[in-house]
Symmetry: C2
Subunit: 190 residues, 2 copies
């Protein structure tokens, strides 16, 4: 009855939004591209996660400062976003990759070129062998007027970049399909 | 210099893939739609997270069985997927919403209609106040031939549903933009 193929313990939870994670490396801003991200809860405080291999410089920076940012690049930033994922913060100065700004009292650098930036406090670090999971609490979320509609972030204007490990490609966002908690009302089965 | 608007501690990490989470409720399969998901690490074992408000029946089911599935619906399943997010497993029998199959020795029901299904063992439960975060280890990933290209899951064929809280809409996947770890090579700044 089940005609599906067993691909083993493959992670297939794609696509995921690509983000730029900012953290201070001493006096210098560092930016890294990350797509293994997550939403933990829904509410206040709002907790988000980013998963990073322990080899990354960003891990050290986040632990040293207790702060990081999660910035959402638009698809027109694909070249420098990909570069932020290729170039190592251990060997290269990525502080000029974006124009840096901070929250008042904020400790995490944010990328002005990204239309949406979340300033996060470090809530927890989870040890997953080769990886560390950084759980952030969103303190301030900044958005350009150009991506707002009636005061809300409009992802149709933001045009976020989506990451897929299967194709090793970035994908664009498509179109709205249907309204949530509405299109399924009255479903009675086939 | 920074002209962005401060929207407070708003979670803006969208869109996220919508999944159907399957878990046994006694002898009966239960299915729920979840979009607050995450990828923790990358490798084997592969760990994924789903965040669920404690009021959901699914939380009880996962803790009682130590198992759940993460199934990826295509956009043509939008009506029943949305229904799975509206109807409460406490009051309604959602076992017939999908055709159930299991892994050999598997304890979590999977939705045959979803082209990709991941059978997960419960690795950890994180307490986040109103929410519980269920960390799963992917044991088996099943995929329909119709969504495979050269043996890999092809999200262009899968057509996953994406969730956005800002617009409260489901969105489709767009097109490939560029190759990862390639388009940014040679970036030298502006």
């Amino acid at each position: 009855m089940n005609s599906k193929k067993d691909l083993g313990g493959l992670g297939a939870l794609y696509p995921m939004p690509v983000v730029i994670v900012g953290a201070m490396d001493g006096e210098r801003a560092n930016y890294a591209a990350v797509a293994h991200v997550g939403i933990l809860n829904y509410g206040q405080p709002q907790h988000l996660s980013i998963g990073l291999h322990k080899s990354h410089r960003t891990n050290h920076c986040i632990k040293a400062t207790g702060a990081f940012s999660i910035c959402m690049p638009s698809e027109d930033l694909v070249v420098r976003t990909d570069y932020a994922g290729i170039a190592s913060g251990k060997r290269e100065d990525k502080s000029k990759l974006f124009s840096t700004f901070f929250s008042p009292q904020g400790k995490a650098p944010m990328a002005q070129e990204c239309p949406v930036c979340m300033d996060c406090g470090l809530h927890d670090v989870l040890d997953y062998g080769t990886h560390e999971i950084f759980v952030g609490e969103v303190l301030h979320t900044y958005a350009d007027d150009s991506v707002l509609t009636d005061g809300h972030i409009d992802i149709g204007k933001l045009r976020p970049m989506l990451f897929d490990m299967g194709s090793k490609q970035y994908w664009s966002l498509g179109r709205p399909i249907a309204k949530c908690w509405e299109v399924g009302r009255g479903f009675k089965g086939e």
